[in-house]
């Protein structure tokens, strides 16, 4: 076991090389969630999938990585070098080598090879045999070994289409914990019974829930639930999830066989799903003393759905209509009454979300939402700010002509007194118009 001067061990975090703008936010948020506050992020680098850290023990490594979507696995570090020969030297020269050998001497085990940016068709058995100096006496068990030892081979492609022939770097370690990437497959929209045009992809909705620190046994709310993508992600991480949407058609789904509730049943997580309400977020019915631990959403930006709230676009036209009666009963009290809605400004809606979060979240509770912007606008995107909320993350996902960002805020309470731009006109162009003009 590598014990460094301060009694900690060296580990390797092997991440995926996608969504790199979200990786650090996810790792930091999960470390904070599990109270692991001693990780040195100064060595973290977006351009590589490898991140070496020191941790107190394997349990910390397990807690930290078990939920991570953007991490493949975390390993206890045994050695690394540029060639296999040097790798074997590196492993045997570590001062923890003898102790490690003894610790896992009789455990069942297997060897694995993982690669980055390349592949190797060489004879893996021969390569494994070269590790015979480890002198493990336990049985090889491919199905359920006590220990998994992994060689990670890093390649450098010669050009975009020509892969590198030999690895340029090798790392050897003992697997401690894999990330939660299997859940991406489990929650893949292709396999989801109820979905729609506004459904949010599995990978980034799970990452969003991690950065928002959705916790088991707490309450998560999505005020623009749509087909329930974020509710699904929140339920996966054990929160009781509540959704609302002003558009009842979305949350009703396609009858009793395909709706948000049946999705939760499909995933075996129906106890995590409370309800979805047909409700205007700006005319909110959740009682004001209910603590909501996390708010996670993708507000309407007017692309697939326009921004609407309750009320009459032309109040004069509706004057007196509240007195209309049908069958001796006020029209607006009928079961099938459909209230009129009016357009609403995006800036106002975002201000409302921030204000609501400042009132409902506990101290240190998180608000996370997505916001799109056009890439070619020569003006800085103005991020909405609230005096009680610390803007913690601003993670950008780039598309061809537009991008969207996950904004994550932490409620610091009234003493925080941060900058605010509430009430200001922030957006200069309407994103929807630009989107449908193909950003020309």
């Amino acid at each position: 076991m590598q014990v460094t001067k301060n009694g900690r061990k060296k580990y390797l975090v092997f991440m995926v090389q996608v969504h790199t703008n979200f990786r650090r936010a996810e790792l930091e948020s999960l470390a904070d969630l599990y109270g692991i506050n001693s990780i040195d992020f100064s060595k973290y680098d977006d351009s590589t999938p490898f991140f070496y850290v020191e941790l107190e023990n394997d349990q910390q490594a397990k807690d930290w990585i078990k939920r991570s979507i953007l991490t493949r696995a975390i390993y206890e570090y045994w050695g690394d070098a540029d060639t296999y020969e040097e790798l074997h030297e590196s492993i045997q020269s570590q001062d923890f080598f003898q102790k490690n050998k003894e610790l896992y001497h009789n455990d069942t085990f297997k060897f694995e090879f993982d690669t980055y940016r390349g592949n190797n068709k060489s004879n893996r058995i021969k390569q494994i045999e070269k590790f015979s100096y480890l002198d493990f006496k336990g049985k090889i068990n491919l199905k359920n070994p006590q220990q998994v030892f992994t060689v990670i081979e890093e390649y450098k492609p010669i050009s975009e289409n020509i892969p590198g022939k030999d690895p340029i770097h090798l790392i050897f370690g003992r697997l401690i914990q894999t990330g939660d990437r299997l859940s991406m497959d489990r929650y893949d929209l292709k396999k989801r019974p109820y979905k729609g045009t506004t459904s949010f992809e599995a990978e980034l909705s799970l990452v969003s829930a991690n950065i928002a620190q959705v916790k088991p046994g707490t309450i998560m709310y999505d005020p623009f639930a749509g087909t329930g993508s974020f509710l699904t992600a929140g339920g996966h991480y054990g929160a009781l999830v509540i959704g609302s949407d002003i558009d009842g058609r979305m949350i009703r789904g396609k009858g009793a066989s395909a709706n948000i509730n049946t999705n939760f049943k499909f995933y075996g997580e129906s106890s995590k799903f409370l309800d979805v309400l047909t409700m205007d977020f700006t005319h909110n019915s959740l009682r004001s003393n209910l603590v909501i631990d996390t708010i996670l959403c993708d507000p309407p930006y007017g692309i697939r759905e326009s921004i609407k709230v309750l009320g009459a676009r032309d109040p004069e036209r509706f004057a007196g209509k509240e007195n209309i009666e049908i069958d001796g009963k006020k029209a607006f009290l009928h079961r099938d009454y459909i209230p009129t809605k009016k357009p609403y400004a995006l800036d106002s809606l975002l201000d409302d979300i921030l204000q609501y979060a400042s009132e409902r979240l506990p101290i240190n509770g998180r608000l996370a939402f997505w916001m799109p912007t056009a890439n070619d606008e020569n003006i800085e995107t103005i991020i909405p700010l609230h005096a009680n909320l610390e803007l913690k993350y601003n993670c950008v996902q780039e598309f061809n002509k537009w991008s969207r960002r996950l904004l994550v805020y932490i409620n610091r309470g009234p003493t925080f007194d941060g900058p605010t731009n509430s009430g200001a006109k922030r957006s200069t162009t309407v994103f929807r118009d630009r989107y449908f003009n193909h950003f020309n």
Partner: protein, 135 residues
Amino acid sequence: MKFLTTNFLKCSVKACDTSNDNFPLQYDGSKCQLVQDESIEFNPEFLLNIIERVDWNAVLSVASDLGNTALPPSKPVFPATADQLSEEDMTILRDLHTLLIQTSISEGEMKCRNCGHVYYIKNSIPNLLLPPHLA
């Protein structure tokens, strides 16, 4: 709409926020259809956390609206963690699971005690939208 949700819902009308009568809503027992979903699994640890958030007086009020007056007058007290739960605690938790999580209102209506506005539940989904003169 699950019974537990009735514990979170107030009247949408902003003017009612200054009144103490906007929560809980008053459920019309003669018009509410109740259904049980026994397939929702019982998770005591999860339920313990959620019960902390529950307003017991509102549970009593809504249960009484729906014809159940057999609940204890004050919120049951449980140990802090699930592994300390006694058998008796578990029995009570199971009952609460049946009431709060497995019981839902599939069709029905409820009213604000302050402004009198009526909201409907259709296909298990409550509709909390307001006409323009109340919005």
